[in-house]
């Protein structure tokens, strides 16, 4: 699978491209686009469910990457995580914006997620090589599922509570405990 054979140069390529973006090189942004846009649409699609919204999120993300490239600081983190953080923030804003603006349409969060986005399916696709997979496996399935639902589908505490018919306080404390357990395992 492509994600298992990431070239070691990929991360530095992105960081070099961000550096070039900061000095106004549009071709550098296009390099990032060619390398990541398809995966980015996939990530946004899991959060937003609708293709048009996912594309809008990716479009906005590239404008933001371009605008803020000068602020990217390799000392503080990797280029890829920076780009995906921008995409996730933008997607979540669209998701929450959509939710608070009541329309006659079905709110995005209530649209059916693809089965591929089920927590256990996502688990099965996680690379064996990643510490995260082994550590998630130490959590009871339901707790692991809650963490994955939040990250993959962008559900809020309240939405997770509603979906699993659990009190919101329980959801909150389960997530906190799960994060602390995960962190102990991840080191």
């Amino acid at each position: 699978m492509a994600s298992n054979t990431v070239l070691p140069s990929k991360a530095t390529d992105i960081e070099t491209a961000l550096h070039d973006c900061a000095s106004g090189d549009k071709l550098a942004l296009k390099r990032i686009y060619d390398a990541e846009a398809a995966r980015m649409i996939g990530v946004a699609q899991r959060l937003l469910k609708r293709r048009a919204l996912a594309e809008e999120a990716v479009q906005d993300a590239f404008v933001l990457i371009w605008r803020h490239a000068a602020r990217f600081d390799p000392e503080r983190g990797g280029g890829l995580t920076w780009i995906y953080a921008i995409l996730r923030n933008r997607s979540l804003s669209i998701l929450r914006d959509e939710k608070r603006t009541e329309t006659s349409e079905t709110p995005v969060a209530e649209e059916t997620a693809s089965e591929e986005d089920d927590p256990e399916t996502v688990m099965s696709k996680l690379s064996d090589a990643k510490a995260l997979r082994a550590c998630l496996e130490t959590l009871p399935p339901q707790r692991r599922g809650i963490v994955l639902l939040a990250f993959v589908q962008g559900l809020t505490h309240g939405e997770i509570a509603g979906r699993l018919k659990m009190p919101i306080g329980t959801v909150k404390s389960w997530i906190r405990r799960s994060l602390i357990t995960l962190k102990e395992c991840l080191g």
Binding site: Y33, Q45, A54, D60, L182
Partner: protein, 262 residues
């Protein structure tokens, strides 16, 4: 209850909070407080980065979806607008209506068709609004109460934070003035500003009506925009020069909808 408002975080608190942030579970005032904290707390920023690196493995499982051919050209159009905004506004269109910024959200093939529709709707709405305002002003004049009408808001929106605290009010007046008055201090980090938005139609999306560097009373620029009951106003935290995308990008500080004043 809100751990982000305390000044010192325990190690577990820090890990859990950073993890919740990366999961996208912090909202409203908690999110704003966390964002502020991130700027001054390198340890917290490092904890966030570590979570991002770990969770990146999950994003790597997303199925790649080939972008449509025109997505890159849409991005290029937006980049060109960013460049234009940076330069002093060159008013290429003399029309009283701002250009259809939403066009970029549809495909190029349908953009001009949509913008025609949009323009006519806009014109129609503006005309209706102007008519409504004229009626109000005339009625007030006939009653000899124009002066009172000028001082008393026609509609009021109370903007609430996520925690349902009233953070600001928006008053609209019969003469078309719209003002926002903050009711509490709002912390604005260095390099950031508060942007005020209004939304009257989902199909159009939110429009920026003001940008202030700190919480203070300000007039909102709704010149050509519709204004009615149940219209959403909200304040978001944006870069000092305003949202780079023309839509809200930062956390929502407060929001509320207009209601008729008695």
């Amino acid at each position: 209850m809100s751990p982000s408002s305390t000044s010192v975080l325990g190690p577990e608190e820090r890990i859990a909070l950073a993890g919740e942030y990366v999961l996208g579970l912090l909202e409203g005032a908690d999110l704003t407080a966390f964002d502020q904290r991130l700027e001054t707390d390198p340890d917290l920023a490092a904890a966030v980065e570590r979570w991002r690196v770990h969770f990146a493995a999950i994003d790597a499982t997303a199925k790649p979806i080939g972008p449509p051919a025109e997505l890159w050209s849409r991005i290029e159009i937006e980049l060109a607008k960013v460049a234009q905004q940076a330069a002093p506004a060159s008013s290429s269109s003399a029309a009283p209506v701002s250009s259809p910024i939403q066009a970029s959200r549809s495909t190029p093939a349908t953009a001009s068709h949509l913008s025609d529709w949009w323009n006519s709707l806009f014109v129609w709405r503006s005309a209706a609004l102007a008519g409504a305002l004229a009626t109000i002003v005339l009625a007030a004049g006939l009653l000899g109460a124009l002066d009172r009408a000028r001082r008393q808001p026609v509609m009021v929106a109370v903007l609430l934070t996520e925690a349902s605290v009233a953070a600001a009010v928006v008053n609209t007046f019969a003469d078309g003035r719209v003002e926002m008055v903050p009711l509490q201090a709002i912390h604005v980090p260095e390099g950031k500003a508060l942007e005020i938005w209004t939304l009257w139609d989902r199909a159009v999306g939110p429009r920026s009506v003001g940008l202030i560097e700190r919480a203070r009373s300000t007039h909102l620029r709704l010149d050509q925009l519709p204004l009615g009951k149940d219209q959403l106003f909200e304040i978001t935290l944006e870069p000092a020069t305003g949202s780079p995308t023309g839509r809200p990008t930062g956390p929502v500080i407060a929001k509320g909808t207009t209601a008729q004043a008695l």
